[in-house]
Amino acid sequence: MRDSLLHPSRRRFVQGLGVAGIGLGLGVVRPAFATASMERPADQGKDAVLELREASVDFTGRMRRAVTANGGVPGPTLRWREGDDVVLRVTNHLDVTSSIHWHGLVVPATQDGVPGLSFDGIPARGAFTYRFPVRQSGTYWYHAHSRFQEQSGLYGAIVIEPRGGERERCDRDYVLLLSDWTDEDPARVYAKLRSRPDVYNYGQPTVGDLLRDARDHGLGEALAMRRMWNRMRMNPTDLADVSGATYTYLVNGSTPAGNWTGLFRPGERVRLRLVNGSSNTLFDLRIPGLRLRVIAADGQPVEPVEVDELRLSAAETYDVIVTPIDDRAYTVFAQSIDRSGYARATLAPRAGMSAPVPALDARPRLGMRDMMGSMSGGGEMVMAHHARTEYGPSVDMRVDMPRTNLDDPGVGLRDRSHRVLTYADLRTPGGAVDAREPGRTIELHLTGNMERFAWSFDGVPYAAARPIHFRQGERLRLRLVNDTMMNHPIHLHGMWSDLESPDGSFQVRKHTVNVQPAQQVSYAVTADNPGRWAFHCHMLFHMEAGMFREVVVS
């Protein structure tokens, strides 16, 4: 962090305050000395009450307004049992329309919580009661689907116990909800990105980097490396639109300095329910000294696989089991994809213990495969079929031959000496619920123009797009080709995304599928849930900028 030497105040963003404060000031901003240590709101069961309110929070030493559920950021954890009929009474005390979406839950379209598609939203100072049966189990989360309220703090975890009890015996069970917080008004963040898309990127290539590359690889090679990127007006350090320059990364609402701690007795099996509830961040998470036994992805069980590190794309969840043997503390370390900051928590035998916090990695740079796909060599050759609408001003590049392999952990994780989870490692036991072959394929390209900060499917932003029609009852395939150089975690509401391996066979059931730069990913969908559904990139600012479509099942 050379930056923080020059700018000591930045440490506050990266580390946050030791104690995050929250006050239900009802519109009154309290002085900083009056902030209490944040009390987590009580868990809610199948008859849940959620009160949405603006409140003052203090993560960085400055009081800011957040949108809270039951007074917390995050809101209360919702704990249900498979088979429950849940009733959620949500009261909106805000001055604006709000909404809550149950991410990953298969519910009737009217209960899905997307204003304009599912319902009218929850009016300002109004209320809405959600009712739906819970027909699944696992770790999920909820978040606002209105404007930037998710970024402002309106999110929380959902834990659903299987009908027959948990399959994996564990001594401890913790939710670790990772998120990103900014002291800035998220609308302002968005406006800044629209006018200067690299505004939060403090890791851009410099003259010094060029000299270093020239020393390491020779001047010719260094210049050649730069040439292609510069000619295309692409930036190899464009990993995250919003970085630690404004974000403080949280675990269960605690800053790195706040150090959320989960207790264990040595030898116990500890289940960690990892939720990436951030608005615009991909996290790479590891716990030095512990293997992560991955038992579920996006709430759904997977054949257990042991890894040392995993990437959580926005909105993904993973359940892992760790077995700390030693009588010592372990650091849960989750750095952002651009290495501009990290979220941190601790597992310890006793409160107050801590373990060393690893240094942030050097900032990775996108590789040729992130720009050229399989043209850069390796992997099966497939040709993408670009849409007519991709040849306009809203698309700054297209990838003709995307890579299809799923065994790439992605930029920044490729050179690890330890094992990193990839999608190729994830297998749903028992295969697909719907064994039918997809009857047809819809190809959609993930497109954008970084200079304009415009994002879209097939070059058409939501405002100008027609819906995507699924015929009710059909089994179809979505083939997503990422024409951009950023990761896009794509989320289909209301139905599962059955991720396919490159050869077309069923791999794993997910609700959010991250598509890496210049990658093609296919998944099968059973269109068995009638209604109007949201389909979008889960990077909040990409969604707001147009990477959103309506899916109609009829």
């Binding site: 009218d120 404007r147 406006a191 079929h385």
Partner: protein, 275 residues
């Protein structure tokens, strides 16, 4: 006039040249990765089967609006200069309000020399995206400062050329058969994430002499600058630099008659502010 033609040609040709380069970098087997025309067999992206969007589409737009306008004002230069034959202040500002494809653009630049306004203009444009990295702009310019005020209709392009050069080329048509052209280019060289060197070049040319504004025909003025700024934050960056003002053709002759320098090297110090 010849110079004017060169400038005009440059602005017409540049986007095409950029496309050309993009084409060249790829083999024949595939299309260009950027820009270009949709091939005849391009995919039809409409998979709606004629199903209409949600009747609450506008509602949804209220909460998620990718066409919502945002605003932006960059005061790129707000500086004092000390030249060999002049000392004063100058400014350059660029702002816009709009969305990814359509913007209302505003630009102004000018200088005060020895305490009185010498040269300056303000422009208002409609900017429309015509290519991934290029906007066409149509609008008006009003000249301030020495001599009678002049009004112009303006047409041009602005955008980002390969290798990250910001370019702007504008042609102007005024009353009385007046014409003018302006070409601007700048670049950013990062020494660190905050210490940035910005070379800039601006050429102004006129199709007809305007003695009352002390302008001759042809290239009237070339401004080149090298400014080294330090971004304390993205919003505020003090800088120091050196700039050259060079007068050409008839403008230079008039300046000689007025006892002014043809070439003036200036030390500059100022602040760049992004609102």
């Amino acid at each position: 006039m010849r110079a004017l033609c060169v400038v005009l040609l440059a602005w017409v040709a540049w986007p095409a040249m950029a496309q050309e380069m993009d084409h060249a970098m790829h083999g024949m087997a595939m299309g260009p990765m950027q820009g270009g025309q949709a091939p005849a067999d391009a995919r039809d992206g409409d998979v709606s089967d004629g199903v209409a969007p949600s009747s609450m589409h506008d509602m949804a737009m209220m909460d998620m609006d990718d066409t919502a306008p945002v605003g932006n004002l960059l005061i790129d230069r707000l500086e004092s200069f000390a030249g060999q034959g002049s000392h004063g202040q100058s400014w350059e500002a660029d702002g816009w309000y709009g969305n990814a494809t359509d913007k209302l653009g505003f630009r102004s630049e000018g200088e005060r020399d020895g305490g009185r306004p010498r040269d300056g203009d303000a422009e208002l444009f409609w900017r429309h995206a015509i290519a991934p990295f290029w906007d066409a702009q149509v609008g008006a310019r009003s000249d301030l400062g020495d001599g009678p005020s002049r009004q112009w209709a303006a047409f041009g392009v602005q955008g980002l050329a390969p290798y990250w050069f910001e370019l702007e080329a504008t042609a102007y048509v005024g009353d009385g058969g007046r014409s003018a052209a302006r070409l601007r280019a700048d670049y950013e060289l990062l020494f660190t994430q905050r210490l940035i060197l910005q070379p800039e070049l601006e050429v102004n040319a006129y199709g007809k002499a305007d003695p009352r504004r002390r302008l001759g025909r042809g290239i009237a003025r070339i401004d080149a600058g090298l400014r080294l700024r330090y971004e304390i934050t993205r919003r505020i960056a003090p800088y120091v630099g050196v700039a050259w003002e060079h007068l050409g053709g008839g403008t230079a002759a008039m300046a000689r008659d007025d006892g002014r320098r043809i070439t003036d090297r200036r030390w500059v110090a100022g602040v760049r502010v992004w609102l």
